[in-house]
Amino acid sequence: MTTLLAMDWGPLWLTMQLAGVTVVVLLALGTPLAWWLAFTKSRMRTPVEAVVALPLVLPPTVLGFYLLTAMGPHGPVGGPWKAFTGSALSFTFTGLVIASTLYSLPFVVQPLQGAFEAVGTKPMEVARSLRASRLDAFFTVASPMALRGYVSAIVLGFAHTLGEFGVVLMVGGNIPGVTKVLSIAIYDHVESLEYTQAHVLSAALLVLSFLILTIVYAINRRLPVRAA
């Protein structure tokens, strides 16, 4: 109990913030991307799908290594960013959000794409024929029908970002309150032979992840499956 009180819970809150912001960014970017992937006839569809799925198969160290290079003050992204804001992206919370967005991209885009494909184009066409604008039709017809996809996307995106380690390790710099997330804190405790603290934080992450996944499965069971 004393351990629980004496523990530094900062990394847990930081991790929750990172996962939350990342999911919001991913929904904003992932929704149009998933829609396009679901219905486009473009030849670019297959290569874009492959790019979206890349973080599933690449080791996080590959992503982290490229991001460290790209987001640094001499990098193709970090350079212009530094000219604009005064500091590069590596070792910042913003940098972690960008890294996590790429890292969790497939976990948001793929469920959304699947849901949009299941809804199909028919409901949108009907709504359009009733003079709804495209956006109006999307928000009032298509996205409620794809609710199940959204729940999966939000939860998986959030949970996957919670568990992020390799990428943050490489671009974060372990700054308390800025980039020292839960997985890094656990790693540090293990390295420092502070096994009690490592156990407590690991258990917290395990329980949290289990709860999140249980909730998503429970919700999904209750939501109706919509046929096109």
């Binding site: 460290l68 290079t69 987001m71 640094g72 003050p73 001499h74 970090g78 500091s87 590069a88 590596s90 070792f91 390790l169 490489m170 710099g173 372990n174 700054i175 890094i184 790693y187 540090d188 293990v190 390295e191 420092s192 032979l193």
Partner: protein
């Protein structure tokens, strides 16, 4: 060395443990049979050990399987039954603990290299001859290894404290989990300055580039890197032979050349 070398034969009476078994093993005649030794080595020494191992295999006929990782991870693995015979740690604390906890053979622990710390930048001229003025000057990030987990990180912190600059720079510190990652931060220009190992600054990929200030050894506790014979390897002739080989003249020459000190 010669006859003093504790060369031993495989498969001794198995029940003996700790210091006693070392004593008994020393009385045994040397064995010429080639054996296989499984070695765990701290990542920062892996490449150097690789060079030494090549010579060792050529000279003795023994075979060596090398695994590298962080000293902390290897330590935890050994405690949980990892099948290593010898451990080359990046510090002295973990080998000592393994000895105390009965996972390593008492009396086998020795310092094989002493790490040297350097303040390095990938930008030529960024580090002046005087490290104190460089650290007092303008920069956005100073990279160092995690002082809580990595020996080089602890030495970096001690150096900053000895210079009276810890509070001055602490908000600009970015931490690598280990010295390899710290070096990556600096070589990629993500951090302008960094405390890295001299062996990294002398690595062929960057040798002669950038700028550096070698930290005087009296500013931090010595970075003793120790090796230890593990209980798994106590009857393995190749394991003890390797431990001795690393301290022979030709190995020491290699270790010093790549940027470590020798005790």
């Amino acid at each position: 060395m010669g006859a003093e070398e504790p060369k031993r034969r495989a498969r001794m009476a198995g029940g003996l443990s700790g210091c006693l078994s070392v004593f008994v093993l020393c009385l045994c005649p040397p064995s010429a049979a080639a054996e296989e030794v499984r070695v765990a080595v701290a990542t920062n020494f892996a490449a150097t050990l690789g060079e030494i191992v090549t010579n060792f295999e050529r000279d003795t006929g023994h075979a060596v399987v090398v695994s590298s990782g962080s000293s902390g991870a290897i330590y935890a693995q050994i405690r949980h039954g990892a099948p290593f015979d010898v451990f080359f740690s990046a510090d002295a604390m973990r080998p000592k603990r393994l000895e105390e906890e009965g996972f390593a053979v008492c009396g086998s622990r020795r310092t094989y290299a002493v790490g040297r710390l350097t303040l390095w930048s990938a930008t030529p001229g960024a580090v002046k001859e005087d490290g104190r003025s460089t650290l007092s000057g303008h920069f956005e990030h100073l990279a160092m290894a995690n002082p809580g987990t990595a020996p080089y990180g602890a030495a970096s912190k001690q150096t900053l404290q000895a210079l009276g600059l810890w509070n001055h720079v602490r908000d600009r510190i970015v931490q690598g989990e280990n010295i390899g990652q710290t070096f990556q931060f600096v070589v990629s220009h993500n951090a302008r300055l960094g405390f890295v190992a001299l062996s990294q600054a002398l690595h062929s990929s960057v040798r002669g580039t950038g700028s550096r200030w070698d930290v005087p050894a009296h500013l931090h506790a010595p970075l003793r890197q120790q090796a230890v014979l593990l209980v798994n390897g106590r009857h393995n002739a190749a394991a003890t032979a390797l431990l001795d080989y690393v301290q022979e003249e030709q190995s020491r020459t290699i270790i010093e050349r790549v940027g470590y000190g020798i005790e």
